[in-house]
Amino acid sequence: MQDFLELAVSATASGCIYGLIALAYLLMIRPTGIINFAVGEWAMVAAFGGYLLLTKHQLPYPLGMAVVLAFMLLVGWVSERVAVRPLVEKGAPILAPILALLGVLVVTREAISVSFPPDPMPVPFPFGIGRLEFAGIGGSYQSFFIIAVTAAVFAGTWVFFEKTLWGKSFEAVSLNRRAAALMGINLSRVTALSFAAGASVAGCAGLLVSPNISAHYLMGIPLAIQGFTALVIGGVGRVEGALVGGLLLAFAEQLTARYAPIPSGFAQGVPLLFLIIFLLVRPTGLLRARG
């Protein structure tokens, strides 16, 4: 039992990372319909930001984290202005900004690759390396920190969409862009904010995972794939779907690796299997949009 509870903490922490990346996708898809695969690279940018501010310049963790997340808001906003808005304003098909954002992905990765040494860079743990145990549940400090921060991000996002006027305007744009525009909602501002928020959430995932895996220039693609799979599982209809998808994916991965009587290497196929099954059987994901 202790074995399972240990694994549950580990899987929940991994699921939270996947969920945050899925949420980054979702924040941009809902109002714009654009799938932005550069979210993984944004997570990488934030991880390198963590290395620069927290490891190299040794800023206090809360300050360093705040600066990185604020910088990521700017990264998302600039990406929207440069790669998305010009195409949308010219009436380009939806595929055009998706391809342009793939270009952003490549440029971002190569920029980091040539700007930093090739080796992984260390990012510190906010509470050091250690293990917390209570009521039979045990896990690293970082696992519990990831879970707590993710819970706060999802709660904040849920409140934003459900309880604020700004959130309602995002929902309105996602339901019907033209009608929302006719009602006086500024579409450009909503789009820019959705990209800024998406980049910041992806950056949060990158900062949280980087103490475990270090900051390195190839970390973005796997995160983008895991987050996308979580999004497909949970569905784009509701914010909580991203978290549910992430948790389900991580538990499936880790339970298979731990308990399934198959060679360990085969457990790597689980996310792909999930992706195929959900795309075939339930392409809208587990949670559907309200109304």
Binding site: E6, S14, D119
Partner: protein, 375 residues
Amino acid sequence: MRKLLAVALAAFAGTLFAQETIKIGVIADRVGVSRPYSEPNTEGVVFGANEINQKGGVLGRKIELLIEDDQSRPDISAALARKLIDQGAVFIISVSLSPAAQQQQTVTMEAKTPQMTPTNSADYLTTQLPNPYFWQTGPLGSTQIATLLAHARSKNFKRVALITDNSELGQAIGKAFKGTLEKAGIQIVADEVVARGATTAIPQMQKIRAANPEAMFLAGVLTAENVLIFRAYKELGVKFPIHSSYNLSVPVYETVAKGLIDGITFVDAYDPDKPEVRAFEAAFKKATGKDPQNMHGYGYDGIMLVADAIRRAGSTDKEKIRAAMQATNYAGVMGKKGMKYSFPDGKRAGFDTDGMVVRVYEKDKQGRVVHVGQK
């Protein structure tokens, strides 16, 4: 006057001839998955070439390096080998991924152009293709595990765990480890893989813990995933010893795995007490301002071996260089004290199977040599 003109022309032609360089191609990875290893390898090659040129070059001619980037992609790599040969390279040094070096061989074999890799450790590079123009001088995966086992023999292990990653090289080294362990009659009670891009290695380490091995052998080559394995090991509080492939000989672990690696033994081809290593480290630091690591040493030995072959061939004729390379008997930076690279009995893997050492991490630093060779 005519005589004077003729002498002047001859002197001018002589100068031109003296300035003609010997072109050596280098296929490296500057942006792909093997960049962490390829970059220091390439720096070692460049440093070695500069050192040779400062001492007058080879056969009175300077070495000119033509460096290309294949991103560790075999398809690009073969095209680059062709490009380098067309540009006049008389030798190609491969410091990218093993499959890329393998793909280059399809070109060098057909073009009869000498090619070598000073670092790739996949055993198949010199066994799958009958290419007499290719050599590898890095320690093979089978040599690594045999050396580790020789060190561990005193412990009389009966049950061990094996863990690696899903990279091509990690799988190849894992396979070599598995074969050698089974041949030695040691039971592998857990055989685990951590996928590239994983965020934890807790499930794999739990499985290993449940199998209760006497030791764990690590064959992974991906730094981030190896660090995850060490974190899981520490977090779960397991105590069995870890013996690692030469991937842990890369000093980056001293920073990214701080607090996690004390006591881990790893196989290495770099003995810091060796006189050649001390001389190399001093010269490299003086020239570049940086402390070298073993990966620089592999590249340095690579260019030195090529220069040595051309020098003994006495010309840049590729066939003569091939014959000279096959007859190599050269002591370099890498390997245990006194080790020499050679290719006896027509073999083309030149790292002495008895030439590796086992070292141990002490206080997060690569520490002393605790074992030498396979005996």
